[in-house]
């Protein structure tokens, strides 16, 4: 009776689907029987429909062989012309032997493809097939050939979307790692450019490229990045951004602790400054490490104009950083706590504008900030076609109607609009988001304590920023720890002679730009 109840109550045992783990596969080797090999390979790869098995006979003796590959990952023209044709047709001309063929001869003089190697263990073979290689397996041999015929469909190289610039190169990364590496190599023909590849994720096994210039990048930082990447234990990731979040020193920081870019030119100049790049197959985002706040405030356009103009623009951008974070809070503090600070006329006109508004300045600011947040978020999500309509409607709702309806004062609209605009001048999108986030705590501090609250908030923020580190480099370097030599590309952008130096704070090994290369060449010579 009890056992019957137990049976009723107890969970039904689910059928176990055995997973093929790489460790198990490692010990399994190919056998001489081709049918065994094929069926085992198919089972290992879940018998998916897109696995193609092309049976064929090689040579005059008609030795059975088989090509196994995944349909959408290989270039079918290459397979036909460079693998199938020589194997089926040309092999007939081979002198008749004792019923065996020389596998080395196949490899060396028949298959006209650059990337080819022998394989015998299952883990290598499965991974290779899954990454777009063709596997040739021959009856009577316990070795097969892995032939590279990868072909990925992807979009063409387009213009950068989130980091547009007026001048300079207009190319951006795509989803294919090979193409992206090509974009970098094309701009940087330095034999010292080292690109190390790692497989990321137990399931995804995507390629992660770590690039740096030997002799420039601090070897300690490079080693540390590699160590942390190797330690990662995960199924797989979509983009290098996520890898970045896992290997950083301060994963909870609201400030971006890595620089994300889709511009190859930015990557190249970062590499030449001795920084390290991470790029994952399947995503167009390159990750640059280490990073500091001044680096995030640099824009590509800064380097294409006269240094005086660029410095002016950059300083105004830094001011925008403050406006974006502090402007609404300062307005509230002055309007509610110290209106006496303002000149009498301005204070009077502000008061006149606010007559009839039912809310306090604080509530008014919170409402308007929230509206702007809605608009910004809607702008990102909406399809491009509707986007314009919404921005007009939203703008009108915020600007005209809210004021006319007497819900908010016109000055508040100016304040909030200016703040939102200022946040878009920040070159790094994530940094802009951080300022957007910080606005709210500052508004709350200003509501409760006025100017004192803002000062306290600012001191906390400064302390927090000073404590941040990106791979041993202080986030505010070279502002603090102060390094005058590096200021040529911080708040201002120095004239070109000044640009000829690499930043010292990144612990770059060679400081002079062209000189170092000359010395290195002299050493080699």
């Amino acid at each position: 009776m009890i056992s019957l109840l137990k049976k009723l109550v107890g969970k039904k045992k689910k059928p176990i689907i055995r997973e093929a783990s790489t460790d198990q596969l490692k010990n399994i080797k190919l056998t001489a029987n081709i049918d065994d090999n094929i069926s085992r390979l198919k089972i290992t790869m879940s018998s998916s429909y897109d696995i193609v098995t092309r049976e064929l006979e090689i040579g005059a003796h008609g030795i059975r062989a088989s090509l196994i590959y995944i349909d959408n990952l290989v270039n079918s023209i290459v397979v036909q012309d460079n693998i199938l044709r020589p194997l089926t047709i040309y092999s007939l001309n081979e002198p008749k032997g004792p019923g065996r063929i020389d596998i080395n001869k196949l490899k060396d003089s028949m298959i006209s493809i650059g990337e080819i190697k022998e394989a015998e263990s299952f883990d290598d073979i499965v991974l290779a097939i899954l990454s777009g290689n063709v596997f040739l397996c021959i009856q009577g041999y316990d070795k097969g050939l892995l032939i590279g015929a990868k072909y990925y469909h992807g979009r063409t190289i387009g213009e950068p979307n989130t980091e547009s610039s007026i001048r300079g190169p207009q190319e951006s990364f795509v989803e294919i790692l090979k193409v992206n590496i090509g974009l970098i190599r094309r701009r940087l023909r330095d034999p010292n450019l080292a690109i190390d590849a790692f497989k990321i994720g137990k399931r995804a096994k995507s390629d992660l490229a770590i690039a740096y210039i030997r002799g420039l990048a601090d070897p300690e930082i490079v080693e540390q990045i590699k160590q942390r990447v190797l330690k990662l234990d995960l199924d797989g990731q979509i983009s290098a951004i996520q890898i970045g979040q896992m290997i950083l020193d301060n994963p909870n920081s609201i400030f971006p602790m890595s620089q994300i870019t889709e511009r190859p030119d930015k990557v190249v100049s970062a590499l030449m400054d001795g920084r390290v790049m991470l790029l994952l197959e399947g995503a167009p985002d390159a990750l640059l490490l280490p990073v500091t706040l001044p680096i995030l405030m640099q824009s590509a356009d800064d380097y294409f104009e006269s240094w005086i103009i660029s410095s002016f623009i950059r300083i105004s951008r830094y001011m925008c950083l403050f406006i974006s974070t502090l402007f609404p809070a300062s307005y509230i503090a002055i309007a509610t706590f110290n209106p006496g600070m303002l000149p009498t006329n301005l204070a009077l006109s502000m008061a006149a504008n606010r007559t009839g508004v039912p809310f306090t300045a604080a509530i008014e600011a919170l409402i308007m900030e929230f509206t702007i947040e809605i608009l910004q978020e809607a702008g990102v999500r909406l399809p491009k076609v509707i986007g314009q309509t919404v921005s007009i409607v939203g703008g009108l709702v915020i600007g005209q109607s809210a004021v006319q309806a007497g819900l908010v004062g016109p000055i508040m609209v100016i304040v909030v609009a200016l703040t939102a605009l200022a946040s878009f001048t920040i070159p790094d999108y994530s940094l802009g988001l951080a300022t957007r986030f910080l606005r709210l705590p500052f508004i709350i501090l200003a509501i409760s304590f006025g100017g004192f609250g803002i000062a306290i908030g600012m001191l906390t923020l400064i302390t927090y920023l000073s404590s941040l580190k990106s791979f041993g480099i202080r986030y505010l370097a070279p502002i603090t720890p102060f390094n005058l030599k590096d200021w040529t590309d911080t708040l201002i952008r120095g004239s070109n002679p000044g640009q000829n130096k690499r930043p010292e704070f990144l612990k770059t090994q060679a400081r002079g730009k062209s000189k170092a290369l000359k010395e290195a060449k002299a050493d080699e010579g």
Binding site: F449, F452, I456, I462, T463, G472, T480, P481, F482
Partner: protein, 365 residues
């Protein structure tokens, strides 16, 4: 990841930041009361003395490049005697934090926030300071790096805009029948610079070398110059007898700035906001010293040391609001500084002598 060490320039900003602070609000009034229109001369003489005393402390800590003051006390005098000799400094640094925030909160009430309860102001200041100390000495140095230029610019603007309004006549007669008062003002003058002893806590983290000493001296010279300037300007604006009735002359001075092209009309609220950062930086240095003293005194393990900084907050808050009369608080802070002068004048030479004797005898052995 290896941590960097404090650069010589950072020693300068840390020292200057520690010396500035709430005292700069009070200096002119205090000095004018003691030495009249010649108060600035006393300040200068006191400054010279402070340079000498600072060099002495620097010499002591350079004998122990790996230790800071509390550790040196224990090393030289043993566990018990070292703790006893440490106690006055411990109390001084600890109570100073509370009192300076208390005095500053009163100034804020007068100039910026008139309805906020004083404990809220002190509590917020304490929280931020504790947070900075919790983040460690290198972060604190970076914060000082950022805040110091701000303080310097404010002071320069303040002096530059008000010096033309003042009248030179108020400074006269210079040293006429007043030399005894001026000499009497030298020790109180020295008291204003007691923040220089911060070197005893930060030297072990610095890059050692002659440049460190040079910048340390610069870090003391800058406050000396600005204290003298501020006192001069205050006397020129308010006259020495008039100054005695002004509690926060430096802030009152900023009230008189009216610069119409700027869209701010009355700058004193703005100056008060900037002053928050100056007082914060100095409080931070003292808070750090206090936490180091307490950690060594009670033998706190180094891994817990950074967490105990938050434990002081309630006690400091009570200390701060215990005394409702701010004038008494100001008096108390002056007494406290006397302790520091005694420590710097007697304990430091004593420690040096004992160390040298010990080392000599060990060489002989």
């Amino acid at each position: 990841m290896k941590d960097d060490s404090l650069r010589p320039v950072q020693i300068m900003t840390l020292t200057a930041s520690a010396i500035f602070g709430v005292d700069i609000l009070l200096v002119p009034q205090r000095m004018a009361r003691i030495a009249g229109q010649d108060g600035w001369i006393s300040l200068g003489l006191g400054g010279l003395l402070s340079l000498a005393s600072a060099s002495l402390i620097y010499y002591l800590v350079s004998l122990y490049p790996e230790d800071d003051m509390p550790n040196i006390c224990i090393k030289v005098l043993g566990r018990l005697l070292g703790r006893i000799i440490m106690l006055p400094t411990l109390l001084y640094t600890f109570i100073y934090v509370a009192l300076s925030f208390r005095i500053f909160a009163q100034a804020l009430l007068t100039f910026l926030l008139d309805r906020t309860p004083i404990y809220a102001i002190v509590l917020l200041m304490l929280l931020v300071t504790a947070y900075a100390v919790y983040k460690g000495i290198y972060t604190m140095a970076s914060v000082c790096d950022l805040l110091f230029p701000l303080a310097l610019i404010t002071l320069i603007v303040l002096v530059a805009t008000t010096i033309s309004q003042g009248r030179l006549d108020y400074l006269r007669p210079i040293l006429f029948d007043n030399s005894d008062k001026v000499l009497k003002g030298v020790l109180p003058g020295l008291q204003e610079y007691t923040g220089y002893s911060i070197i005893a806590y930060i030297y072990s983290h610095s890059q050692k070398g002659a440049r460190t000493y040079k910048w340390y001296m610069v870090g003391i010279l800058i406050p000396i110059i600005f204290y003298m300037l501020i006192t001069l300007v205050c006397i020129m604006n308010f006259t020495a007898p008039g100054l005695e009735g002004v509690l926060y002359p430096t802030l009152t001075l900023s009230k008189s700035i009216e610069y119409t092209p700027l869209f701010m009309e009355r700058l004193e609220a703005f100056v008060a906001v900037i002053w928050i950062s100056i007082v914060f930086a100095s409080g931070m240095a003292y808070y750090y010293a206090a936490s180091r003293n307490i950690a060594v005194f009670f033998g706190v393990k180094s891994q817990y040391e950074r967490y105990i900084v938050f434990a002081f907050i309630p006690l400091l808050l009570i200390l701060a609001i215990l005394e409702p009369n701010v004038l008494k608080s100001i008096k108390q802070i002056t007494y406290l500084k006397t302790i520091q002068i005694l420590v710097a004048g007697f304990v430091v030479p004593l420690l040096i002598v004992i160390t040298l004797i010990k080392r000599r005898s060990s060489i002989k052995k």
